[in-house]
Assembly symmetry: none
Homo-oligomer: 226 residues x 4
DNA sequence: CATGAATGAGTTTTCATTCAT
DNA sequence: TATGAATGAAAACTCATTCAT
């Protein structure tokens, strides 16, 4: 029940007065959130155990409640963090400067890579949908984030149509759904997929092929035919 | 708390050996499975409550254990039933007689409709993936069913290539994944989608548009360009 | 943690088929309520421990929740029972047939005796008042019970005035408050009283003197002066 | 969660030794006691929350432990303060100079008013009785205070008997109990009373009527009949 | 087969108190 | 002195499962 060791507080620099701080709330919170993200994403909301989270933490269970109030509060904080991460990344994408076709390919590849690398995120979205998205709806950040993706796509579509590259009759939200579907499914359902076909979709070779296939499918979908 | 009435067993009247049965085990099992399907698909495996299932049933908790052994046993039975249903349906599809392009469109539309109508199935697959597909792997029906879809697609692809309609470099399993992704995602994640964009993907108009879009995307993907 | 023995179920009569029932929900509930009444009345709502109640019971903690839902639910059930008891007794009082002065004396003595003997009840009322009476307000039985006491007093007052024994300007509810005050206080606050004056108000001699004093005070209060 | 401001210590300006003090321990203690009195009297000893007290204070939890040692220590300090207050007041009563009947009426009215105005005191006494008066017994002020009331009453009774106004067979402690009962009960149990009869006993009109009724009842009780 | 009562181990949550800065 | 962070023990509550009738 006793913890063997504490987190070594980050030594900001050489100043001894700063080093070895034992109380570092931000660090503590971050640590809890990290562990909780794993637990919730691998066990679901009701399957997750507060005790299990606390145990893998540098603190005690009490601190979970101190900072997050309840199991659900912690779950919401996890959702918020995970959604915040993807938004941050997305905004750095230099898509507006690219040729529409190239830009769209970049966007698809980014979306593919993000889902591929952030299985926790994907699982948490699945879990949220099992709960009817009731927790995610309370996050202010959620809706605005999605709006920005749509604006990016609208811009791409408009430029692509103007350049004669894309069909004019494509809805941005529909296209987003198409891309999401393709990138999300193979990660979210990789276990049943693997079990059904004896192929692990996260194997590098398959992964690369799927990446290309998906970009290819999306581009063929939007392409204006001669 | 008291149950008002029990299920009256169907009297196959006339045949004396069948009549006058007071209990109908098959009926009881079916009833339990139905309720359990709802509960598991809407709450997940750990979120589901045995008491909640028993309460909405015509029987008592005891019977649930009598027939299915445990909560997990019941969950597996639910998976099995749900998988059995889809397989039955698929085999009636008269695809081998159709023109490849038409056949593929039919297959996509069938897949779309099936997912659209069987949300329980979709949710259960999501749930299974959260549990690493450990329960579904035990089902014999699972692998064989998937094998048969792949054979159907392989046949379509071969005929399409031969007819000069399809590209020759498409893998059947990849194509299946593509189709599944598009049909599955909008159902599985309709809550977060709805919350993010204020659009309910199960609305008839949106549903029809997506159905066409998806078939369109798949056909564009396989089509051999002139 | 194991219970040494179960409650011997009441043997209704000599029929052996009825005897030694192990499952007797009514008995179980009664047993829990009895123990809970002690615990709540001696520790207060927040001071009471569910574990402590369970331990002194013939069942386990789980059953408290099975029958009463929560600690608060159990507390409410205790209140309800305790209030039901006093009402039952009160209705058997043959006051309407007595001479008004004698009837009023009887009522005071009954009230005195009841409070004197039911310290649990008195303590629970004190406790309820600390909680702003929020639990007791939810009991339907509560208001109707009080109405019946008031009717009894109104009847006594009317007959006493008519007989020239009582003053005509006395309000029934005020008189009830007067009687209650005198009977309640010495029980409710017997500890501080005992500590302050070195007298234990529950000592038989003091008890008898107070009983007479209180009846005396009430009768002097209502008496019509010549 | 952050406190906006601390209590500014009163600068008794001019005197350099007093000025420029940054903290005022007495002020801090007083502040804590005030808040604690509210919390304990409204929630009971076990119902009170140390966190809740600290939050409504100008200081932090640490100070609370620094000054009072523990939750119980704080509770005792609250009792002591509340008892100290009442004693101070009572000693100013100029009863020994009044005619016995008038003096007794004054004493009853004072007792009535005091209870009516100091609900915290009344509640705390109720709470103490729930805990068997174990904390109050430790207060030196407690017994001496009660002794002085009894002396006052004894004096009144003696003078009243001598003047032919009062009956000779009345015990001072009994009379004190009678007066206390009448004054205490309507305050201590005003919630159940209000709920039972739809009358709020703290309403000014009812209050005035009760004040007169109680004085009346006490005087009728002691009066020597012609 | 059917049923409500019973159970124990586990899970979440709370709370008075102490520590490091 | 002052303060937010930290803690462990205990409390309330839940749940899958089994038992007696």
């Amino acid at each position: 029940m006793k913890k063997a060791s504490r987190v070594a507080a980050p030594e900001t620099d050489g100043t001894p007065s700063e080093a070895r701080r034992k109380y570092d709330p931000e660090q503590t919170k971050r640590n809890i959130l990290e562990v909780a993200t794993q637990e919730f994403s691998s066990m679901g909301l009701s399957g997750a155990r507060v005790d299990a989270i606390a145990e893998r933490t540098n603190t005690t269970k009490r601190m979970l409640y101190y900072y997050f109030g309840s199991k659900e509060g912690l779950y919401e904080a996890v959702l918020e963090k995970v959604y915040g991460d993807i938004r941050t990344l997305e905004q750095d994408l230099p898509i507006s400067e690219l040729d529409p076709t190239e830009g769209l390919r970049k966007l698809v590849e980014f979306t593919f890579d993000y889902h591929d690398r952030h299985r926790d995120f994907v699982r948490l979205v699945s879990i949220e949908n099992i709960h009817g998205a009731k927790y995610i709806e309370q996050l202010k950040s959620f809706k605005s984030r999605n709006a920005s993706v749509i604006r990016t796509i609208e811009d791409l579509l408009a430029r692509g149509v103007a350049a004669g590259q894309f069909r004019p009759d494509i809805d941005a939200i529909d296209l987003h759904l198409l891309i999401s579907s393709l990138c999300f499914h193979r990660v979210a359902n990789r276990y049943t997929f693997g079990s059904a076909f004896g192929r692990d979709p996260s194997h590098p070779r398959l992964r690369a092929r799927h990446r290309e296939m998906i970009a290819d499918a999306v581009l063929r979908f939007v392409r204006k035919e001669a």
